[in-house]
Amino acid sequence: MADTFTTTFDQAQSYVGTRTVRPDGLDKVTGRARFAADFDLPGQLVGRVLRSPHPHARIVSIDTSKAEALPGVKAVITRDDFPDQSSEFVPAGEMMMNYRDVVRNVLAREKVLYEGHAVAAVAATSVAIAKKALKLIDVTYEVLPHVIEVREAMAPNAPLLHEDLFTVGVEPKPDRPSNVAKRIEIGHGDIDAGFAKADVVVEREFNTAPVHQGYIEPHAALASTSEDGSAEIWCTTQGHFIVRAHCARLLGMDIGKVRVTASEIGGGFGGKTVVYLEPLAVALSKKAKRPVKMVMSREEVFKSSGPTSGANVKVKIGAKKDGTFVAAWAELKYQAGAFQGSPVQPGVMCAFAPYDIENVKVIGYDVVSNRPKVAAYRAPGAPISEFAVESVVDEIAKKLDIDPVELRLQNAAHEGTKAAYGPKFGPIGLEETLRSVKKTDHYTTPLQPWQGRGVASGFWFNIGGETCVSITVNEDGTVSLMAGTPDIGGLRASLANVAADELGVPYDKVRPIIGDTGSVGFNFLTGGSRSAFSGSMAVVEAAKQIKDDLCRRAAKLWEMQPDQVEFVNGYVKPIKENDKAKPMSVADMAKVAGKTGGPIGGVGRINAQGAGPSFGTHLVDVEVDPETGRVTILRYTMAQDAGKALHPSYVEGQFQGGAAQGIGWALNEEYIYGPDGKLQNAGFLDYRMPVASDVPMIDAIIVEVPNPRHPYGVRGVGETPIVPPMAAIGNAIEQATGIRFSELPMSPPKVLKALKEKGLNKPVTGTGTNGGSGKHKH
């Protein structure tokens, strides 16, 4: 029996800010939810990719004839199946892409530029046949010398990846190509004068190893094409509209002929904002005239999808005796991978962003090298630059004997501060997060020997962007909400909270789904901490349309003017009480929808502006084991400004998840290349991400300094959490050992080596006791 609505509505019930159970939760805890690899179509073929074994080589020839002749092989594709693209920046959704690079990353053309670079692909009737077919493809390579590390790639005689790459941003323009795609610079004031008046100057150099986003779900796509040239794609992606744009462009199709459905996504963190398998699956399906399903192995994910940059960073900060920062300089060199486009630009802009500094200069270099083209990873660029800056800030605090939180508070950016990258900040919550952390009892808990405490702050700009949300009121008063940004971690719950409050309906009567590209208007991808911010804005807009419409309909029913009717707390009612016009709920109006004009709905179509930055401060206690060099995270507290937490559990979830990724980046994760340019740790055993026993509970404090540009005050929160952890942990290790680590990760072999160099290590005892517990003297 269907639920009936009562005519009384509990005015006090508000969902925004409460911990509702997510609507997609049941499917996820029962195994029903379908991720990309869980879809199948009748007649589908298995697609597999042939990948380069060499980090750098010219492709002399590709012969697919033997593979094509193998029974069971229905299609083979190479670079010849993709038209070349000219070198120009073209809008793909809201991003500008150089499709000349994209088409080459999807399938190599003149050269292979990294181990794992896709060279050809097959579609066959079984896995076994597909594997055999790959072996039958003959590729003749002319192996070239390779270069990976960023400083090596910048050296004058480094192997050259692209003969037509001339550094942009240097004067005079270079007449010889190099691996440096771009030099950028921002700043204001006079840093020489600034350093001249500093009482203390700290200059440090840091090197960070490349890391991967580490999503547990490998890339997967299923494509089906039809005779009129249209295609349907199911894939795991952060942006199905972007997938549509890329596939249409690469294969010369009308955008309207490509329909992409985003499956549930098993993690992305920025790594699923680009295409790898999708264009290949479509091309294979066109050739084979059957659906083609492609799934990456874990090894392929590590070798062939976009991890983040390794980098070299130099930072120099000058301060007066009283702690005022007077000058700040940094030089960042980031790996872009095989094609230009590292996140060095945001890295440059974020480096000193938390501080109000009179004289700033930051220089950045975007450098190509023979590893996969980097893709975004949660606040791209910022974790690296802010790791370096926050480590130097910590050193200054120690040199001046000022509490590290107080030093940050003294120099903190606040409303009206001119950001290092130019504009003045609106209201922001950095100071609140610093104070929150300082007030915790974590801050003052006594430490034992070999333990240390570190603090660091961080920030991300956050973005808005094109968003379309469609809300429909069904005949029984339930509400269908269709959003268009894949739900990575709680979006549907957050939007349902907002829709329920806006329309005054119970939360469980709102059913949110993520629509495919054919069902809902254009949405920019889920990323940039935008989906809850923009999505909720669009929900408010769509709800407003519905409320206005309900007022018009009620006015007709009551034979009044629309301006005599209002919508309050879930009811349309006459402004002046009237016996003949009883208040009607959304459900009541739904019953008479047909009689009053037709289906009830609204569409919020916006390009959300006004995203507010989110600042965070992290506090961590570590214990260093002098026998093994292992660093244990004892305690972790973090405070971050969410503006307004639409759903506190999922805001906390973003905080904790980002912090855990930062812990991995700080202590263990790295791409390990051999001298042959090949990846040695392309699996979860040796690419060591944090597991449950590596981390303690992560205390997440939600600070709310409302964003005045959002109807609820929301700020995006997803990215900032990964920015402070590495420096916070490095600062804690410094306190525990007296050693400042300038290389990431601070893994046990590196820590132990540094301890040994200072004579601080303890020889391993035969009893195998846990060296970290109990009292030890330095």
Binding site: M96, I184, I186, Q213, P423, G426, N607
Partner: protein, 81 residues
């Protein structure tokens, strides 16, 4: 006149000139005026920039109004992960 500052590499296209006083009442007009003064800028402004007006960052917002005393920064586009 709005005070307009170019941030980052755009400054190289203008031969080092980073600051302008321009009578622009919208982002669209601002781009037109900048391109008039430095034609090579036009392509870059099209390729993707963000514009901060009095501290608020906008992307793809050609019709956003600029007040006579606004402070405007032209920034590289910001995305995310």
């Amino acid at each position: 006149m709005a005070r307009v500052v170019l941030v980052g590499n755009l400054v190289q296209i203008t031969g080092g000139v980073a600051e302008f006083d321009l009578a622009a009442s919208s982002v669209k007009q601002l781009f037109e005026l900048l391109t008039e003064r430095h034609p090579p800028l036009g392509r870059h402004l099209e390729e993707g920039v963000a514009v901060a007006i009095d501290g608020q960052i906008y992307q793809d917002a050609l019709h956003e109004p600029i007040a006579p005393d606004s402070e405007v920064f032209v920034l590289p586009q910001i995305a995310g992960g």
